[in-house]
């Protein structure tokens, strides 16, 4: 027996709908195939946290604990830090009320403060405290470590020191890294640590130390800690990758810790005999100049540290830090 017209139309309609939807899905998600190794498209996602320059105030200040009569107070890492930043006009020059401030120390290695492979915890804590005093809403302290992060954060003493002054300490976890366009000379697209860039102001607090491949590292190399993924490839062209990173991240302020400096076997050290107490902290708005000064501490000249000239060529700062007329704090 023949089916009714109504049912025939319904069945035809249903079949047509299924075919139509399948075709629509196919069209919407059609993949032509082939491989395409294109470089990143779009502008580089540069992070520039600098505050407008103020000609009346110095750009660089060096606080050294030299007073042989008053060793205790004079050589205290916290007071050295405070003196250096105050000489630049104080933290209020850099941090405004309600800012989210990210403080980026070097917490790369599972070493204790005496090994001077990481930033001195008291320097970090003082920067955090000054940022809060200047009105920061939140101060985040974090780094993407080389060794196991929990060990690095605890054993460096930075976790406790920063927590005690109210900082939010973030342990780097896989989910906090997202791909960004650096579009540098060797760094095209890379996984970037989001905790470092979701900020109003970024303060770089590196430690000055010897580095066996690039000679000396401090401020500019500290941005290795803003990357995730397999950083071990960066060594093949370390100077250019440091310059690429310093182009990508331009901090509000650099506080270079030279209270205790690793003179040999850097960047990891491990032997207290390789360190030397210099009781010095440098604050600078120019990361290239800060590093050019830092390199002299371990007996290197600016010419030996190749990434400094690259930084100057990219207008990141000046190698000849004397031009900035650093003030003694």
């Amino acid at each position: 027996m023949a089916i009714s017209r109504r049912e025939a139309l319904t069945r035809l309609g249903a079949a047509g709908l299924v075919l139509g939807s399948a075709a629509a899905i196919t069209r919407a998600s059609f993949d032509r195939g082939g491989i395409d190794i294109a470089s990143a498209k779009g502008k580089p996602q540069v992070r520039d946290y600098r505050v407008p320059a103020d000609g009346a105030l110095p750009s660089m200040a060096i606080a050294a604990g030299a007073d042989p009569l008053n060793v205790e107070a004079d050589r205290d890492p916290a007071s050295l830090t405070r003196r250096a930043i105050d000489a630049l006009g104080g933290m209020r020059r850099f941090v405004s009320r309600g800012d989210v401030v990210v403080v980026k120390p070097n917490i790369g290695w599972d070493r204790t403060p005496l090994h001077a492979a990481n930033t001195n915890p008291r320097v970090v804590a003082e920067v955090v405290r000054l940022a809060y005093d200047a009105g920061a809403k939140t101060v985040v302290v974090t780094d993407a470590s080389c060794n196991e992060p929990n060990r690095c954060f605890q054993r460096s003493g930075i976790w406790k020191a920063a927590y005690d002054v109210g900082a939010e300490v973030i342990i780097p976890a896989e989910h906090r890294f997202r791909t960004m366009r650096l579009r540098g000379e060797v760094l095209d697209e890379w996984l970037v640590y989001t905790a470092l860039i979701e900020a109003d102001k970024v303060i770089n607090v590196p430690v000055a130390k010897h580095h066996n491949l690039s000679g000396y590292t401090g401020a500019m190399k500290n941005w290795y800690g803003s990357l995730g993924g397999r950083r071990n490839r960066l060594h093949q062209n370390i100077d250019v990758s440091i310059a690429d990173l310093a182009t990508f991240m331009q901090p509000t302020l650099t506080v270079l810790d030279a209270t205790r400096v690793l003179m040999r076997n850097g960047p990891q050290g491990g032997n207290i005999a390789d360190t030397k107490e210099l009781h010095t902290v440098c604050a600078s708005i120019d990361q290239v100049a800060a590093d050019a000064w830092g390199a002299t501490l371990i007996g290197k000249t600016a010419e030996e540290i190749r990434y400094l000239a690259m930084g100057e060529a990219r207008s990141l700062g000046v190698v000849d830090f004397a031009k900035l007329a650093p003030v003694k704090a």
Partner: protein, 599 residues
């Protein structure tokens, strides 16, 4: 007067029962007599459920705590765990017995297992029914898996004692104890606590972490900031409470996970199949249950063969009337007494034994045969070349491990060390260490290296296969450091050695001081990548590179160099076990040779 007094409480009880029934609080009336079970027993059953839940939660929590999470409250440089995360293993008398037979010593915390033995001597196998986290898992799955399939008559049939199948666990126990005497704690493969730590710690938890990680990625792909913030917060919370700091990966865990799934699925056919048939710890406690002061008495004359006791029985230990109770099989769950409507079953101290069988029903000849087989299996397995003749270079044992033979006497494959390792460096061996070494810990540096100042694997090892070393011993402060192997360069794959490209990430990560990896400064010729004009040969250039070398007298085999080598698929520097401190034969250098020492 006396009559009235006797009646009054019953009337009162009746009135109370009516009231309770109206309020919905009435205890479940048992069919038949309609009388509820003794209050004490009902209370004990609930106490048992609470204990099971509580101890399962404690076990899980200790497992979650098996890993180092740093603390904002501490800048201590000597890292230790705040809780005894291996507590369940320390209380395990089967582990203690195995290692006692193999090493003739009771290692430190294993003395706690006396406590569990004491409990068994008073209450019988209460561990199985009340405490064992793996048993609780089986109790749960034995309840939900067969829900429709194994009901009524078929469940009663399965819950009757099946002597042939239930003997197997005793034979396994004897075989494993004999194997221990022959020098191998291989019985850890079947210890329920070891299985629970291994399968949940290395399989279930990492898999769950992977699933939530994937979910976080999906959320990140939406690009919605608030959703991402919630996902980040949830991920951080889980990382701080349940999961590892980073997604862990474990070598060849598929068999561990499939075994767990299979053994849990067996509950569909035989409730608590594992506990009744295979568990050597249950068998061990069953052997001692005969001395228990607490037990069951039966009044066979009251039994109506209703089989309600069997419906609820956990151990398949013949609680029903007309047969003798199997004390060695009973988990002491007390379900039978609460279920019995006729007061046939009574649990009490110092019960009459006339309807009890206390001793495992095994056949002496078979028992002796399997024990002999267990003892013979160990030398038989060592004929395979892995230990004596051709020690495998991949068997890199954790720092502080004892010499390989003693290691096999002690290692129960509990996976605590693998779970606690902060760098995901320790893995269950597949057949690298031979059939006998299945699931013993080996270090796979490509996945994770040994963190220089970390001593946590030895801290959690319950049997001393990995000794509790100090930082000073490991780092070699004032003494020789502990070495677990030696690094070697593959010059053909190394960037400075064969490709004229600077690198030395290995040197940067080498943690010893002075560094075991040193570099030689050289200028090497390198052909330019672009051809000269008119297609001429590309010109030659000179490049300056630092070529890395290993000093075997300083190398500790931590594998940091191998982990960070940028040659991703097959690294240009790799660690093998040679030069390990624990061995007097698997060494390179003359000065480490001492033929007066054994091993």
């Amino acid at each position: 007067m006396a009559e009235r007094r006797a009646v009054k409480p019953a009337e009162l009880e009746g009135a109370l029962a009516k009231l309770r029934a109206r309020l919905g609080l009435s205890p479940k009336k048992r069919p038949g007599s309609g009388l509820p079970a003794r209050k004490l027993i009902r209370g004990l059953v609930w106490a048992r459920r609470a204990t099971q839940l509580g101890l399962f939660a404690l076990f899980s929590w200790l497992l979650f705590q098996t890993g180092f999470r740093g603390s904002f409250a501490s800048d201590a440089t000597e890292v230790r765990l705040p809780y005894p995360v291996e507590a369940f293993l320390l209380a395990d008398p089967f582990v203690a017995a195995m290692t006692l037979l193999s090493t003739k010593t009771v290692y430190r915390g294993l003395a706690w297992s006396l406590g569990l033995l004491l409990v068994t001597l008073v209450f019988g196998r209460v561990f199985c029914g009340w405490m064992c986290p793996f048993g609780t898992l089986h109790h749960f799955f034995g309840w939900i898996f067969p829900s429709r399939y194994l009901k009524g008559g078929s469940r009663v049939e399965q819950n009757k004692t099946h002597p042939v199948r239930q003997r197997v666990k005793y034979y396994l126990l004897y075989a494993f104890l004999a194997a221990s005497l022959a020098g191998s704690a291989i019985g850890g493969l079947f210890d329920p606590i070891c299985i629970a730590v291994r399968a949940i710690g290395l399989g279930v938890l990492p898999a769950m972490q992977y699933v939530t990680g994937t979910a976080t990625d999906w959320v990140a792909e939406t690009g919605s900031r608030p959703a991402m913030r919630v996902a980040d917060g949830a991920t951080d919370f889980l990382a701080e409470t349940v999961y590892s700091n980073e997604q862990p990966y474990f070598h060849q865990t598929w068999l561990i996970v499939i075994s767990l799934a299979a053994i849990l699925f067996m509950n569909r056919f035989v409730p608590r199949f594992w506990c009744r048939v295979l568990c050597p710890l249950g068998a061990f406690l069953g052997v001692f249950a005969r001395f228990a002061l607490f037990g069951m008495e039966k009044d066979h004359s009251k039994c109506t063969d209703c089989n309600l006791c069997l419906v609820h029985c956990q151990g398949a230990d013949s609680p029903q009337g007309g047969v003798k109770w199997r004390q060695d099989e009973c988990h002491m769950c007390m379900n039978c007494e609460t279920a019995c409507p006729e007061d046939v079953i009574k649990f009490r101290f110092l019960p009459k034994r006339d309807s009890t069988l206390s001793v495992p029903d095994t056949q002496r000849r078979t028992a002796l045969t399997v024990a002999a087989a267990g003892a013979a299996a160990i030398p038989a397995m060592r004929i395979a070349d892995v230990i004596d003749a051709n020690y495998d270079h991949r068997v890199i044992r954790p720092p502080g491990s004892v010499e390989e033979r003693e290691f096999l006497e002690r290692c129960i494959r509990c996976a605590e060390c693998m779970k606690v390792c902060p760098n995901n460096a320790l893995h269950p061996a597949w057949f690298e260490a031979g059939v006998e070494g299945l699931w013993t810990p080996i270090l796979i540096p490509r996945i994770g290296y040994c963190e220089h100042s970390c001593v946590l694997c030895g801290e959690v090892c319950p049997t001393g296969a990995i000794q509790k070393i100090t930082e000073a011993q490991k780092l070699g402060i004032g003494q020789k450091p502990i070495s677990i192997g030696t690094a070697f360069f593959d010059h053909g794959r190394c960037l400075p050695w064969s490709m004229g490209t600077p690198c030395i990430v290995c040197e940067e990560f080498c943690p010893t001081s002075p560094k075991a990896i040193w570099v030689e400064e050289v200028d090497v010729p390198k052909r330019s990548a672009t051809p000269g004009p008119e297609g001429q040969e590309p010109p030659m250039e000179k490049v300056h590179v630092q070529r890395p070398h290993v000093d075997p007298s300083l190398c500790i085999g931590c594998g940091a160099c191998e982990k960070v080598c940028p040659i991703q698929d097959k690294p240009a520097v790799y660690v093998t076990s040679v030069g390990e401190t624990r061995s007097k034969t698997n060494i390179i250098l003359l000065e480490n040779t001492s033929y007066t020492q054994k091993g």
